[in-house]
Symmetry: C2
Subunit: 391 residues, 2 copies
């Protein structure tokens, strides 16, 4: 077969990897919504095309794992052939980091696995999830996959979550609600749910309704009105907080995340988890928790670049939603779909469309050079009105 030949050629001849096609990339893909379900329908992109791209589509950390994390993972290759092995005490290290017990931690192959596990645990059979729209779509996609439903509450005009409406929807559908989903800060907007509104939500719904609070972008927040929801777990509330090593630690491809929840919830969820996590990323995760200098560096440079680019866009007259994450949304006053294609032709990958926000472009914060390429392309495509006929 042709591809097998290509693979063999690469192996024998080395540098031909660039000639290979692969199925691993699609602009703006969400995690398991597409890597698992829609994998077969992806357009093929060559390695060469991939290398050329400014990668601003998937809210990745462009710097990758720190040296300390890479070293920890490389050292752990000695466990590559083992099912059971010393794992660096990853569960205990995470628990200690948050001041909770190991029994409160459920490891996942990325926090995406925990989102799926929460769906499997609390939406079965045919329950409903209550959440914002738009938000990180994988929770709703999984709900659809398992024949559950979503009650989607539109964002307010200023892009904040409509907490009173989420409370009402939960109370009115109490018998059918499996859990409430809150992404904080929210993806794709970058907007936080302030700590007093999180409390308002938790106090406003029946106490036995689980609330999944996805803090994937926690590490980039500066706003003092934000706070992590981990303390609610310690209070014994039915809260599941998820965190990931994909963003601040640059380990998206290595798949490590976790949920923090009361012991009973963790035990219920464990049944639905695979426990299938790479040996080496467990060691990488421990090293990442300890590498606070790298964490501070990534946060600082990401926010500096976000502020620089969004200031420039604002000075050009475009509205940018105030973001507390490693991405932002700019209102381009025309349909984003053809604009995304125009960027792609210039080798700049930006986020997909997030209906109903069809005139907002989501841009991840890449390296300084990637952000320069984005601004150059933006000026050519949008400010110069190249696609204005569509606006």
């Amino acid at each position: 077969m042709e591809l097998m030949n290509a693979v063999s050629r690469r192996t024998f001849m080395g540098g031909l990897a660039a000639a290979l096609t692969y199925t691993g990339w699609r602009p703006g893909s969400r995690l398991f919504g597409q890597t698992a379900r829609e994998q077969m329908s992806r357009p093929k992109v060559t390695v060469e095309e991939y290398e050329r791209l400014a990668k601003l589509a998937n809210n990745e950390n462009p710097y990758g794992p720190s040296e300390a994390v890479l070293k920890a993972m490389t050292d752990a290759f000695k466990y590559a052939n083992r099912y059971l092995y010393p794992d660096g005490g990853i569960t205990e290290a995470i628990a200690a980091h948050h001041g909770v017990k190991p029994e409160n931690i459920l490891l996942g192959a990325g926090s995406g696995e925990i989102l799926k596990v929460v769906g499997d645990t609390f939406l079965n059979v045919h329950k409903k999830v209550v959440g914002a729209e738009p938000t990180y779509g994988s929770v709703y996609a999984h709900a659809t996959g398992i024949k559950a439903e979503a009650i989607k509450i539109p964002l307010l005009k200023d892009y904040r979550a409509d907490i009173p409406a989420m409370i009402s929807a939960t109370r009115q559908n109490y018998r059918d609600v499996g859990f409430v989903y809150l992404c904080n800060p929210n993806n794709p907007t970058g907007v936080i749910v302030p700590k007093n509104e999180v409390r308002q939500l938790l106090d406003g719904i029946p106490g036995d309704v689980p609330v999944l609070i996805d803090e994937a972008y926690h590490h980039f927040v500066q706003d003092p009105d934000y706070a992590t929801s981990v303390p609610y777990v310690l209070e014994g509330r039915q809260v599941i907080v998820t965190r990931t090593f994909s963003k601040i630690a640059g380990l998206a491809g290595m798949r490590l995340g976790y949920g923090i929840a009361p012991k009973e919830l963790v035990e219920n969820m464990r049944t639905f988890s695979t426990g299938s996590i790479s040996a080496i990323v467990k060691w990488g995760g421990v090293a990442a928790l300890n590498d606070t200098a790298n964490e501070a560096r990534v946060k600082k440079v990401t926010i500096e670049l976000r502020n620089k680019v969004t200031s420039e866009l604002k000075s050009m007259g475009y509205y940018v939603i105030p973001s507390e994450a490693n991405f932002f949304m700019v209102h381009i006053r025309r349909d984003v779909v053809p604009v995304i294609e125009e960027f792609r032709k210039k080798n700049v990958a930006v986020g997909r469309a997030f209906p109903p926000m069809v005139q907002h472009l989501r841009v991840s914060i890449g390296t300084e050079s990637e952000m320069s390429r984005f601004m150059t392309a933006f000026k050519e495509i949008i400010a110069a009105g190249k696609t204005s006929a569509l606006g």
Copy 2:
């Protein structure tokens, strides 16, 4: 917290890793039956204790991934921070390897994930799985977790699967059977289901009952009466064959396996899969498929060591079940549980008890030195009658 301090000390001071405790090891654990569900109840073992062990408990490949595979994985660290990335064409490479289409392949984080996905897909709600007893337990453990049931058909006196009884049980419970499970060669016995008996099973049950055929130990088989069941997928039968990179390729800790099935079954199962596989093991998997020399080497040395040790045991008068896998079972004519403990005291980890075979000890094939240590311990513990009072 104390553990956090320990973790920090290790980071700052290096070689203190040996002082850390961890939760990652338990003699004879099965994969997701325990890493996911029972993780909190494991006894702690230090890294130092782990290093001292002859590791003959988990059917691991003691040599680890080949140089080519390690190189491919190390090179792929550049994708460690990405969600979507060139993946080496792993799906296409696997499909080409088997002469099927990419649409027939479902990747998993180990074949254990595929076993779980098959359960989620076909046992929901409250269906039954038909299989042998004993066999690889994770399928039954997962069934219990999701409130499904198992119809367990005892092995025949000569440890072969009782195919006629499996056919009868499936036909009699037709409306309730979600799928039939066959592990070939079987774990923990190492005994194959001959190719004519696989056909007998498939022809003997209603054609719409899915049959999951777990070929984790495929690469170690020499018996000409065995054949892979992949051709049944090409015939369009409701067959799911699973394979893993954990055994012959030495990648258990990296988590990569797959299912091969008709397109429609793959699409049904995809909904339940996480798609959460480490970026680097995808490249490792492609390299492993190409490294046929290493595959042949691992097979040869494993079988040579198995034959050497089992011959010695037989010459001492012990019955050994003829195995076609990288492990074997020896009948020790007494309860295995205290014997396993005796081995453990001598730093030899052997397989757990597999009820109802409570007098059979399962031993994985380790390195030559590990097998010598096993034989020495065996002579001291069993042949010398140290625990014979229990026999």
